[in-house]
Symmetry: C2
Subunit: 204 residues, 2 copies
Amino acid sequence: MGLREIKMGRTRRQIADHAFALFVTQGFESTTIEQIASAAEVGTRTLYRYYPTKESLIVDFVESSLGAAVDELRKQPDDTPLPQALYTMIETVLRVSREDTERVLAVYRLAEQAPSVKARLAEQALRWRNDVADEVSRRTGGGEHAGLVAALTAASAMNIIDITMRTWVMSGGLRNPDAVAEQILRIMHEGVPMPTAPVLSQSS
Amino acid sequence: MGLREIKMGRTRRQIADHAFALFVTQGFESTTIEQIASAAEVGTRTLYRYYPTKESLIVDFVESSLGAAVDELRKQPDDTPLPQALYTMIETVLRVSREDTERVLAVYRLAEQAPSVKARLAEQALRWRNDVADEVSRRTGGGEHAGLVAALTAASAMNIIDITMRTWVMSGGLRNPDAVAEQILRIMHEGVPMPTAPVLSQSS
DNA sequence: AGAAATTATGGCAGTGGGTGTCACGATAGC
DNA sequence: GCTATCGTGACACCCACTGCCATAATTTCT
């Protein structure tokens, strides 16, 4: 199609790649935007047009590669049982992590050394959770307390992903993420200790 | 009980109060550190010694007032049933919100208009969740997959708090947080749709 | 109580992330 | 090819944040 789009796409990837390389070798905070810009052979002003903040150089990668998981959820036929649809989403995340191990691990390591990155990633996770909640809500329709149920369901799914990834990353990418996720599912189905209100423990 | 400590405490509160007032009236991003400093009658350099980042002016408030909830959890006798101990923690959060409604609502509103604040708050929530997981782990001791169970338990508790607060805030502080929390607990105990691996649905 | 050691303060200069503006040059549409 | 459009990058600028240092307040020691 447009030559313009192609070039812009190239530039965008150039910037992200050089940024990642510099971040990994020098650390996030001690790498300046100017360094990245000159490494990618663009002006700093141009760089900011592609990535509005320094953190977005990292966060956007997660956004694009893991955001695909939500799309996957949305793409499931409406009559797919919710649990299965959610599991498909989880599988998508795990697949991406398997295919792009280096980067995913790098992201976690960078987050560990740069508070602002960690913060942005955390916020992104919340946004993502809300998207999932909306989709769950759309699928289940509006029953009583539909909003709360959807929110809880989405939160559970996100917990699985989050804990799986964390466990996987802490093992340095050695443990099999699928096995971890399955383990977690098993635990959840067996029942996890949950907070109980005194008033509830009586009535039930 | 040095005079020094007293004065510093006063200064600290002065700064936070003026910062909050300015944030609420002018918005977070359009309020400069200099404005806050001169309003609190301190040098900007001094302000930075009390609050290392602009966001911390807000986040520290949440940290101190809601961090008390984790302390509350830690303070529970070791033989307290875990679900009950966790519920006590939740109650503490709700109590603080009830006592300091204005500020809590202001924090949420500020987070809505300032991405960096939202991000820092999200990260803080994650740190907090890890603290809870550690405490849960300490209480339950190390069984099989103890880490995963603790992580899931802590995450569940955090979900309850998070969703309760969100629902409460979205109602403008009108709905009774305790009632919301109870509703959520009821839903959780009745069972929430959870992701299921195909392999699991067969074996169990 | 007074001198000496300690420590909070705030000013100044400087780094770096991020934005508005604008002239230039490349692409797209005719 | 000619013109409208749009990406580019340079410049000036704002502001969050830091290192450094002289000063002033507090604490401690005698």
